[in-house]
Symmetry: C2
DNA sequence: AACTCGACTGTAATCGATTGCATTGAGGTG
DNA sequence: CACCTCAATGCAATCGATTACAGTCGAGTT
């Protein structure tokens, strides 16, 4: 495998390896005649650089590593896709790892990426606390950007959305639809996303005077199954509130399904909202009202930050950027259209 | 970045780099005392092997490359997950690439993986014909296994399911539910999956005397949108048959949705089947009857073949294996339960 | 006592591409 | 004509880990 080396090209072209390298990486001066000879030889032999050797010499791999909690979560999948496209434009490639929501596996992946000399790492940490040591340590060695989720007390770059602003929109919309009580179904508070979204939820609920019973804040994980289980529990323990605010679409999909299974009409009797706007939220019955994250924008910012950090080198790592983009509410059929608005003079 | 090298560990431990290497890679004999010193020094310094350097020397990277047509297709996502787990057991990592269903991008990815000295490649080709040159060429350089889809006239290993057997089950089930006519909605015939599934569909339809109008075989792509569009076209051009057999779940999800949108009850008026058993097929309304692919098994076989091929080296590449596993029909609510069976003496 | 054997350890070559430095030679200048 | 400049090119070191080969040393043999 990988038989043709620069030395063989050099021999065939009758020049030194240095010259071949100069031609192929367009660095340094080479006469037109020699350049033609070299290119010809390279083509004839089907030469291809050995990225490994180049990486060893340059300590640059033109590869970025990405670690996500779960590759089967459609939100992360499409985020990955966006990142890949953004990187493609810079001629970089993506090395993708799945942490299976386990901080230990995550730590191993991060170490492995670092050992592979990736130029930078994009990570959405699995856990707000337990992921911290590995993330912090990795960030000390190479450029690192956190995406969507982040670890506590972090000092790295971060790109995501303004969850609080998003929840404000969600709550206002539910309120317009007549909701006067609501439950929150999320994953654990150790996920920054759930934590932030819950904070936004709680604050706006208070402002709008929407009732939130303490035992109607249910925390599990980001999965359809948990959405179903949470609703079953709510029903068993005293019934559903006017609205179910879910921390992501998977949960909301499960919740909606469970509501219907138990004979509650959505959105007539219970309104349900999700978060992320994954493709299937559109297909559910009823189609899910949710928060759309500007994935391409998020990805582009992350790639930009990474590039900037690579240039700055270890030298003067400037202050770290926290970029939060404003997401938009996508109203579909799992919530009610605005009621006749209250009198306004 | 990556500051600590084996030389520094050697110096600190007062031995040669060779000894350090021997300790750390557990090869060769080293006295217990020296081993302890070396490990201590390595720990103190936080040494981590430079995988790049090792790869250059060994021309082994313990990394496998995988190329899929689309990372946002849930079927491929879960296949990727299965492959990752299977590789993890062998201490190998996965380098994932998205070909965006474009054979040219696919070719570039394959070349890039080869240049990175991956130990092997798992690919699900985007196109039955156009993907062929790149796949073939790559297979000549290193171990390669095709998964699920394959290119024409291929001489590489392949692992997938027996589409014909699966379609037989599907058609029998639809027939039991009373279907006497059916349409087929797939992607292009240049995708081996659609081609095989269609072949199985057509053969069993004939045997069961299920009518298939020539203009009711619709080919587009693997997407929800295409499923919706195809049904719209069927309705516009003369109405729906008794059953819609879709080449994958995304299409089936779209088809179901379109049926309902146009006022056709599923499964009462039209039965719909999918293929792949992605997670959301369970959540659709009605839950989708589909074909479950044994993903873990497929992944495990692929990894096994790759390992075997690596051992055989270029020497005597034995004959290539085509492993087809038998999938199982998952009956849910988008098809009808069996009618009273016809008299059987 | 001389020799063999094997366990340990070190020296240096190697993987393939890149690049600082040296060299060559053509063209220009006084 | 001696001397200088600069583009073009080659030589050889380098990135970091691995490993063939060789050397050392103590124990066991004869």
């Amino acid at each position: 495998m990988q038989r043709v080396t620069i030395a063989q090209v050099a021999e065939r072209a009758g020049v030194s390896t240095a010259t071949v390298s100069r031609v192929l990486s367009r660095r340094g001066q080479v006469s037109a005649a020699v350049e033609r000879k070299v290119r010809r030889a390279a083509d004839d032999l089907g030469y291809q650089v050995n990225v490994i050797a180049r990486a060893l010499r340059n300590s640059r791999t033109d590869t970025v590593g990405m670690v996500v909690p779960s590759i089967t979560n459609p939100f992360f999948t499409s985020l990955v896709e966006s990142v890949e496209h953004a990187l493609g434009k810079e001629g970089k490639e993506l090395f993708l790892c799945d942490a299976r929501s386990d901080p230990r596996i995550e730590a191993r992946r991060l170490a492995s990426l670092a050992a592979r000399n990736v130029d930078g790492i994009i990570v959405s940490p699995s856990h707000g606390v337990d992921s911290r040591p590995a993330v912090q340590q990795t960030a000390e060695r190479l450029p690192l950007v956190q995406l969507d989720r982040f670890v506590d007390d972090t000092t790295t770059d971060w790109v995501g959305v303004d969850d609080v602003a998003a929840m404000r929109q969600v709550m206002d919309h539910l309120h317009d639809g007549g909701a006067r009580s609501a439950a929150f179904i999320g994953s654990l508070m150790t996920h920054s996303s759930t934590e932030q979204r819950f904070a936004g939820f709680r604050r706006r609920a208070e402002e709008l005077n929407i009732e939130v019973k303490p035992d109607q804040v249910l925390l599990g994980d980001y999965s359809v199954e948990w959405g179903e289980a949470a609703v079953a529990r709510l029903i068993a323990e005293g019934g559903l509130p006017d609205a179910l605010v879910c921390a992501d679409d998977l949960i909301a999909l499960g919740a909606t399904r469970a509501c219907r299974a138990h004979g509650f009409a959505v959105p007539r009797q219970v309104q349900v909202t999700g978060y992320d706007d994954i493709e299937f939220s559109r297909l559910a019955e009823p189609a899910l009202t949710t928060v759309h994250q500007p994935r391409d924008r998020i990805a582009a910012e992350a790639v930009r930050l990474l590039a900037a950090a690579s240039l700055a080198k270890d030298a003067e790592r400037g202050p770290h950027a926290h970029i939060s983009l404003v997401p938009t509410l996508v109203v579909r059929d799992s919530t009610r259209a605005a009621q006749a608005p209250p009198d306004r003079i």
